[in-house]
């Protein structure tokens, strides 16, 4: 038996098909992954993401510590705003990707569950010399409510400062009220919020959301939604051997004069060149999948890092790591046959609509 979130019984009650995910018993779907996908694109869905690891970083040295630990710069944002960043190793490879929430005097990080121990060890290892307190918040559950109707439906169930926050937060803004942290963030390419809150509150909110017509969404649709949104999945699209440059995360790098972990290898790579993570839209038959080989017209090769069938586009799409500057048509090897695909700039879908551009 794996770890269970506060919502385990609620998943079973909603017909969730439970699978092991990074040591947690989580719902892969509640019947149809594709219907769940469409519910988020067209209406609203709720995800239990309590398996993700929440870490509070406090102390007088918190800012300096995070400016050293993260490749993005927490000084870029004001309190009440969140920031996406990679946490890199000494070679510039991505140990994890995370969201950092900047409060008035301290910070909260949300990291992946599969990398929890590596992340915590890495943070502890680099905390020496900083007056910093690193505290995991396993007591908190986390719900993501996403879709064009998500914020209005959530706000309708809340009152006071919480409803106000849901109604008025800017994208990547957040607010706290009591034990709740409400952020206008997500992993779907739709509008919505993510709420960190005590487990008992999460169970109650989950039930209210389902009663209000919000669909429960499993990890299966979470993956197709994030891929349509062109968002990376740690372990697929990047890992410790891949730098942010090679994972379409260059926009998260702040190469100012501060000395952060992995900085020098990033500067070297910037000079010498590197592969790129781009999108593919399949024009031939089949479904693009991770690890399929991509063949360029000039004989160079690349590899798909995440692939799926896009329910919104009705076509197969993928993220692929290709040599720099790859454009136009490529072939993908699917079951020993070459199938044509178009190189595109992700995201594929935003706010329910196709938005990708051919490269």
């Amino acid at each position: 038996m794996g770890h269970r979130t506060a919502l385990y019984d609620a998943h079973l009650a909603a017909g969730g098909k439970m699978v092991d995910f990074g040591g947690w018993d989580m719902p892969i779907n509640y019947g149809s992954q594709i219907e769940e996908h469409h519910a988020v694109r067209q209406h609203a869905g709720v995800f239990d993401v309590s398996h993700m690891t929440v870490v509070d970083i406090a102390g007088a040295g918190a800012r300096d510590f995070l400016r050293h630990l993260l490749a993005n710069d927490v000084d870029r944002v004001t309190p009440g705003r969140a920031l996406y960043s990679g946490m890199l190793n000494d070679s510039g490879g991505v140990i994890d990707d995370l969201i950092a929430y900047k409060r008035d005097n301290d910070y909260r990080l949300v990291v992946n569950c599969a990398t929890r121990e590596t992340d915590l060890d890495w943070m502890e290892k680099h905390a020496g010399g900083f007056a910093v307190d690193i505290r995991e918040r396993a007591d908190l559950a986390m719900l993501a409510i996403q879709g064009p109707q998500a914020r209005s439906l959530v706000a309708g169930l809340l009152s006071g400062a919480r409803a106000e926050a849901v109604n008025t937060l800017k994208v990547f803004g957040f607010a706290e009220d009591g034990d709740w942290m409400i952020a206008r963030t997500g992993y779907t390419g739709e509008d919505g919020v993510e709420i960190m809150l005590p487990g008992a509150d999460a169970v109650k909110l989950w039930e209210q959301l389902l009663d209000a017509g919000v669909a429960p969404i499993g990890l299966g649709a979470r993956d197709t939604l994030r891929l349509e949104a062109g968002m990376n999945l740690y372990g697929n699209d990047m890992d410790e051997s891949i730098t942010p440059w090679e994972a379409n995360m260059g926009w998260t790098l702040v190469l100012n004069d501060r000395d952060f972990v992995g900085r020098q290898p990033l500067l070297n790579q910037q000079q010498h060149g590197h592969g790129e993570l781009v999108g593919l839209v399949l024009e031939g038959k089949g479904v693009l999948r991770a690890h399929q080989q991509v063949l360029l017209p000039n004989g160079e090769q690349g590899e798909i890092t995440s692939g799926t069938f896009s329910p919104t586009l009705g076509k197969s799409i993928a993220l692929a790591r290709l040599p720099a500057g790859a454009t136009g048509k490529v072939d993908v090897e699917i079951r020993n046959k070459r199938q044509p695909a178009q190189v595109v700039k992700p995201p594929f879908v935003r706010n329910g609509k196709a938005v990708y551009k051919e490269l």
């Binding site: 992954q33 197709t224 479904v287 069938f309």
Partner: protein
């Protein structure tokens, strides 16, 4: 509990086979489609292709994964379910009816005896 019609025969690899005077219709079981999730692509053999029992004869792909389809009996493929090109979800919605995959003119009647009965298939999926 998934449906396992008593009148059909089954391969351990989760295909069903229905014999009508030597023409064997092939599909995947309710259990198989449920395990795969929503199907999004079906690759079928060519009409006229000759297959031996156990040969790869197609692929079904769900949002999650691809899975090979094996011919449960030997013979010549005489018809494929062309509706599946546009509506692969028929396999999910009606695995034993509109979601059939292809028909084989059976060359070795004895092949059917090598397949599982409904009871045997039921026992197999319970032990998985």
């Amino acid at each position: 509990m998934s449906e396992i019609p008593a009148e059909l025969r089954y391969a351990a690899s989760h295909e069903w086979a229905k014999n009508d005077d030597g023409v064997v219709t092939v599909g995947i079981t309710e259990h198989a489609q449920d395990a795969m999730g929503d199907l999004v692509y079906v690759e079928l053999p060519e009409v006229g292709q000759v297959v031996a029992a156990g040969d790869e004869a197609g692929v079904v792909e769900s949002v999650k994964a691809a899975s090979d389809i094996y011919a449960p009996v030997s013979g010549e493929v005489i018809e494929i379910n062309e509706s599946l090109e546009d509506e692969p979800e028929l396999v999910n919605n009606a695995p034993y009816e509109g979601g059939w995959l292809f028909k084989i003119q059976m060359s070795e009647a004895g092949d059917l005896d090598n397949l599982l009965t409904a009871d045997q298939y039921q026992a197999q999926i319970e032990s998985e």
